[in-house]
């Protein structure tokens, strides 16, 4: 591969490296690009990544495991695209994903990435866990296998396997059951949605996953899908149509909000907590959805809802995107984005960080532990907060 063959060869040199991409919307600090916040070396800034990619494709520098880590530490959160004042900004993340695809093609990716992708290919999930355990989260509740129900509830890998995220899956299912929503799950037939695979640049594997899922959904007659994870929401909504997968896709907060509005779920308990909402970027910056989760939280009885300084399109990503909830290229330091986010919430007096993404849930929960703040602050998925307020 040379620079000339690179899909964005006519754009990549246009990054001036002026550094707008490091900031949140209101310029508070230069820590809104997750890898730059974590490592604070220019090589990890968005501009650094683009310049290094160009230098690699131009054969000015050689591939190295470290270069690949720099590239893969980008969570694809799109903060850069919001902040960059130049006209090519819509393609910044595309350039990163394409560069990764070049690395994949050359068979040169960091070990953590290789393991992540290999597990998905072998087991249908990045954890390397058995397919049969995919249904473990349903233990104790009766949930139908999808069979012509109105909705398919697609839980995804994190919600299925991660012990902490399983709780939010369960809470969501219980709310839907209580509200009498017609839904079913795929159980051990569910496989990874491929959103991360796509953004890690493994296009071949992504195609395989997309085609497999689309086939399964079509075979079962699925037309409406509720996703637990904004990542799956993004894949089904934005990537699958070009593979012929056209479904009516909802993030679960869309459904909960409409159930609340139509009175199909009603609160019975108070939730008197100072709460902040952490925007997941696959709902926010990628899909323009900032208000629905807030609308739900606003009507929770007695909640004291506050806004974090970095909110909506200026929110700091938890650092879990692009497989980093598992690969954790941004972990291991108090500068890790998740730990920065926890401190930000704590400093403004929050007791609860509400999330609407299982990856954010995992990342922030771990960060609370790492910060030693277990007794001061908790992270809860919106599904869990609603379930609690409904006394489920």
């Amino acid at each position: 591969m040379t620079l000339n063959d690179f899909q964005y060869s006519n754009i990549i040199h246009r990054c001036f490296r002026c550094g707008y991409c490091k900031f949140p919307v209101d310029w508070t600090d230069v820590n809104n690009c997750p890898p730059y916040a974590r490592f604070r070396m220019e090589s990890y800034s968005c501009g650094g990544r683009l310049w290094l990619t160009r230098a690699w494709l131009n054969e000015q520098i050689n591939w190295s495991e470290y270069l690949a880590e720099i590239l893969y530490s980008c969570t694809t959160c799109k903060n850069c695209e919001i902040k960059c004042p130049l006209r090519f900004n819509v393609d910044i993340v595309n350039m990163v994903v394409s560069a990764r695809a070049e690395m994949v093609e050359a068979g040169k990716v960091p070990k953590a990435v290789k393991d992540f992708l290999q597990n998905i290919e072998l087991y249908g999930n990045p954890y390397g866990a058995s397919r049969t355990n995919r249904i473990a989260w349903t233990k104790g509740i009766e949930i139908d296998r999808y069979n012509g129900h109105e909705y398919l509830l697609y839980i995804g890998c994190a919600g299925s396997y991660d012990i902490r995220a399983q709780k939010s899956s369960k809470a969501l299912a219980q709310i839907l059951l209580k509200a009498g929503v017609s839904f079913g799950v795929l159980g051990d037939e569910e496989t990874c949605d491929g959103n991360e695979t796509h953004n890690l640049g493994e296009k071949g594997l992504f195609e395989l996953l997309a085609n497999k899922n689309i086939k399964t959904f079509n075979k079962m007659g699925v037309s409406k899908i509720i996703t637990l994870s904004p990542h799956a929401f993004n894949a089904f909504k934005n990537y699958y149509p070009s593979y012929g997968g056209n479904f009516n896709v909802f993030h679960y907060t869309h459904i909960l909000n409409s159930l609340l509005k139509t009175g199909r779920i009603k609160f019975s308990d108070s939730f008197h907590k100072k709460t902040v909402f952490h925007d997941p970027y696959f709902l926010g910056r990628w899909n323009g959805e900032y208000e629905t989760p807030r609308e739900i939280l606003r009507v929770i009885p007695d909640i004291e809802l506050m806004e974090m300084e970095k909110n909506r399109s200026g929110a700091l990503c938890c650092g879990g995107g692009s497989g980093n909830f598992q690969m954790d290229l941004l972990g291991g330091s108090e500068s890790s984005p998740a730990r920065r986010r926890i401190r930000e919430a704590y400093e403004m007096g929050a007791q609860i960080i509400a999330v609407s993404c299982p990856k954010c849930l995992i990342m922030l929960e771990d960060a609370i532990k790492a910060e030693g703040m277990d007794d001061k602050l908790s992270v809860m998925d919106i599904s869990e907060i609603v379930a609690k307020a409904c006394n489920i």
């Binding site: 900031f23 604070r40 220019e42 230098a55």
Partner: protein
Amino acid sequence: MDSIYNALCDIVGKEYCSNLPEEIYIYSYDLGTAEPKKPDYVVSPRTVEEIQKIVLLARDKNIPLVPLGGGLSLAGLAIPQKGGIVIDLKRMDSIIEVNERARYAVIECGVSQGQLISYLKKHHPNLTHSEPGAPPAATVAGNIIIHGQGDLAHPYGFSSDMVLGLEVVLPSGDIIRIGSCALGSGWFTIHPLPDIGLFLGWCRTTGIITKLSIKLFPAKKIRGTGTFVVEDEELIPEIIYKITHTQIPEDIIVYSRAIPPFAKGLHHITVNLAADSEKELEFKQELIWDDTLGEYIKNDLGGYLGFTKELERPQISKTSDYKKGGGFEYVGGIMPIDTYPQCYIRGREISEKHDIPYTVTARIIGLAHSMMFAWTYAFNRADEETIKKAREALYETDELVIELGGVIWKPGIYGQRLVMDRLHPGTKNLMKKIKTIIDPLGIMNPGNWELL
């Protein structure tokens, strides 16, 4: 193993120290046309003590040191001409104190323009600082060190005129303080102690500034920009003289550009006004547009293009994308205002000769005591030929500044030589002596101001 690398890791921690090709590559470039030069190490310290230890190590091992703020000078000023250690100072980013009543802020050297603006807006909405048009990632210190100019340059001068105190790590490793802070009192004045202008304008060859106190100014509730346009460049010095006589504007900028084509050859004068009430704003507007510039409109010599409230943060970075090329660089000359017509005409000629659409901008400094006239040359980062052309145009412009009786602002290596060649011998000699005392090994940014 590399003992210097290990020693640096011991000082700042392994994560903030690198000698890997990836960091070496990134830190060898700046955004302009300057040739890259590789550092041997890159470090990113967090405390003054860490900086002091790095300096001591560099002194003991005789290794060059290059401090780096936002790295946005465009003139290659933080490129390690002779290798050594690049010290990325952006982690030194605490805002230590804002004194509302005495209107000053004490900050660490890595605080960015964006960070300070945002902090003041949130916590001290009545205060502001003179913000340059540089990208918000530029550091306040980096701008002051090179005698930059911000959006309050018209009433209050260069950013370096706004310094009230400094803390510096000398090449010897000693830490010193300048101004009232040297007495242990507040950081409210640089005077009346002996004048030690050793660290501003010396282009980081005398020490590393770690903390600084800067003047803040009243932030009025309404801020906006009005634009006036004329065709005849000869009118500009007179118009500027008249506008500055009012002592009303916060910022005055004159610009002319080849693109868009309809504006080619026209001179736009933007005037920033600020007020606490509509009444005050109306009064100021009347004074500028009617009383001062009305005669030009009446005589069909100029036109008023309107006033926009709310100042947008300038996005001059967009200049880099004019030809989808990702690069530009400018020569800044500190010039007498009377030279405007010549600066414009000659600059346009240089641009046209090198096939670059011309862009010239002048920011008025200190009630028109001077202007910073910038000749900007865009290039395509993917096309060596255009980089070469821009570089040639920049060199010619450096020479033009001198020819027109100006002083090159933040000169790169080429411009530095032009300045050194013409510097008064007594001045040069004194500078040499000072440099020898303060940095006998020449570890601070060698390759710059070499003739010293």
